[in-house]
């Protein structure tokens, strides 16, 4: 029975590829001239990036007063953007580390791009807390180094310092993980490219990799260990981000459910962003045989699962508030759903809980266009989730005399657009200069020349 199921299971990569074809298919678009569409996309992203640079420069030169924040609402757009981007940055490590440990071999087609996305998203996220400090030129004070201020150390009891360490570690480990995965592919490029400068760059970064199995053996061990370290790391990062809120006594923030709620939300938004980018990349780079409808289907199922957890968290938060008997806590949640920012709350609920329900239908999961639209809506919804948590809780807390409203200024909107510009500019450059598919890993899941059944866990 088991053999029959294995024999009937369709291959992960379509088109009966050989290893040589995989090399050719992934490397050829990089060696050809970029398409007009790519140039157009780069132009748009780079313009947005420029807008962001201008707005941040203006903000730093003038001051935080260029933003719409006030004494009641001290965290708003900037921290929303920070949590939004860092959440997106969680899918890469989920795909590369957690799915690796679970032996989900379909991950090989998407892990490279998802890891790149992680690195770029963490870069975007890192900008916001730094500019939010108001004096970004002192950002290095976060690092505990012996200093001339009497060696005044950082406060290790503060979640904000935990956050600094978490993000810095996450960025470093993700970047190393990505580079280690890239190493054999850089060697492949070095050995096949005809352009001299490309070969020079590839031989610098491929570190003399020659496919020796003695190196492969240690490489696999290190990859496994990085995956093992990356898995608790990815959970710790968003847990710590949630502690930025949960350790405060503010109603709406002070909740023990926050860590799992945030981690599920992060994976949810990250998977949605991976879907958005993969659907674009498979079309642009002609990778339909590598990123198949089955890959999209698998990712949609992860989206369904995490959307369910997120929905359950929303309900639990409400229930906890009602059951707590705490008037302030109860008020915050009624205010979220029915107060002046009800529209943000209901955008969040519809995009994150209701619309993803469509993915239960197989017809929707296998329609690329439908999945693309849903993935974008989820990203909108997850941005609003952070906005709702941060802004509605702050705007109406204990004393009505403190209440205030918040509206973003043009500078804040321009900074958000700028972060999208940075993200997409980096992603487009990545598509152009780095193999979008992990060539060596995909070769390992082909059916070519392999009789052993290895697909029993995919």
């Amino acid at each position: 029975m088991a053999e029959a199921a294995l024999a009937l299971r369709p291959p992960l990569i379509e088109g009966e590829k050989t290893p040589a074809q995989v090399t050719q298919d992934v490397c050829a678009p990089m060696e050809a001239r970029p398409s007009a569409l790519w140039w157009a996309a780069l132009l748009v992203s780079a313009s947005l990036l420029l807008l962001g640079v201008v707005s941040i420069t203006y903000e730093i030169a003038t001051g935080i007063g260029t933003w719409g924040e006030n004494r009641t609402i001290g965290w708003a757009f900037d921290i929303t953007n920070f949590v939004f981007w860092i959440g997106i940055g969680h899918a890469g490590t989920l795909i590369s580390a957690i799915l690796f440990l679970f032996r989900q071999r379909w991950r090989t087609s998407v892990n490279r791009a998802a890891e790149a996305m992680t690195i770029f998203a963490v870069m975007c996220a890192g900008i916001f807390p730094v500019i939010h400090t108001g004096r970004p030129w002192f950002a290095y004070w976060m690092f505990p180094y012996p200093n001339s201020r009497g060696s005044l150390w950082v406060n290790f009891r503060s979640p904000l310092i935990w956050d600094f360490f978490a993000i810095a570690t996450y960025f470093t480990v993700s970047a190393m993980f990505w580079y280690i995965g890239l190493l054999p592919d850089l060697a492949t490029i070095r050995d096949r490219t005809k352009s001299a400068w490309r070969r020079r760059v590839a031989s610098f970064f491929s570190l003399g990799w020659n496919g020796s199995y003695r190196a492969w053996q240690r490489y696999e061990v290190v990859y496994l260990m990085l995956a093992g370290l990356g898995t608790p790391l990815v959970i710790s990062v968003h847990t710590i981000v949630s502690w930025d809120f949960a350790t405060a006594v503010l109603p709406g923030w002070h909740a023990t459910i926050f860590p799992p709620y945030f981690v599920a939300g992060a994976i949810f938004s990250g998977m949605a962003m991976v879907l958005t980018l993969m659907i674009i990349a498979r079309r642009l780079m002609h990778l339909e045989e590598y990123i198949t409808l089955r890959h999209i289907d698998r990712m949609c199922k992860l989206v369904i699962a995490t959307s369910g957890i997120v929905g359950l968290s929303y309900a639990t938060e409400f229930f906890t508030a009602l059951y707590s008997g705490n008037r302030y806590e109860q008020f915050v949640f009624f205010n979220r759903a029915l107060g002046p920012m009800y529209w943000a709350y209901w955008t969040m609920v519809s995009c994150n809980v209701l619309i993803p329900l469509l993915l239960w239908v197989k017809r929707v999961r296998t329609s690329v266009a439908a999945v693309f639209v849903i993935s974008i809506l989820i990203n909108v919804g997850m941005w609003f989730e952070r906005f709702v948590i941060i802004v509605t809780s702050l705007s109406r807390d204990f004393i009505p005399a403190n209440w205030f409203h918040y509206a973003p200024t043009g500078v804040e909107v321009a900074t958000l657009l700028g972060s999208f510009g940075l993200f997409f500019t980096l992603f487009l450059l990545f598509c152009r200069f780095v193999p979008v598919i992990a060539v060596a890993e995909v070769k390992g899941v082909l059916k070519h020349g392999r009789s052993r059944p290895e697909f029993n866990h995919e």
């Binding site: 480990v173 190393m176 492949t188 990799w209 496919g211 070519h448 392999r450």
Partner: protein, 175 residues
Amino acid sequence: MSRRLFVGVFESEDDTLAAVSASRRSGFKVVDVYAPYAVHGLEEAMGLAPSRLPWIVFLLGLAGAAFKVWFEFWTTAVDWPLNVGGKPFNSLPAFVPVTFEVMVLCAAVGAVISLFFVCRLFPSKKAVAPVAGVTDNRFAVVLEESDSTFVTSEVQRMFERFHAVHVEEQIEEAR
């Protein structure tokens, strides 16, 4: 001292695995196998000892975590104790998150650096492979012609039984 090497080139994972197992069964010394991807099971076929890298990584992680706990205790409770919200100076539970992050950082950076060190990988190193194409679609099995019992024609026949596409002898100069 130079040594004589016998190289067989294969085009599939199954053939490579079978050829390596057969070579070892016949008592030949497998110098190395070059492959475009990590072939599962080749480790056992080649008889490689398990890597000791996990131990290095474990110790580095432990050292990083230990240092960080001490450092947080020393800065917060010894060097300049600051009263923050009346919390105890030596607030161990609050030190856990950063300690965890530093442990992961030390272990991960240590793993990567030890990999580069043990495999002697460094920027701009010249890649030396016995035949071209081992980073694309070829698998190369390299045997050492160690003693007089090594009969080239026999090994060649053995490799061809596993569909070797190419067989050659090479002289490796002393390093």
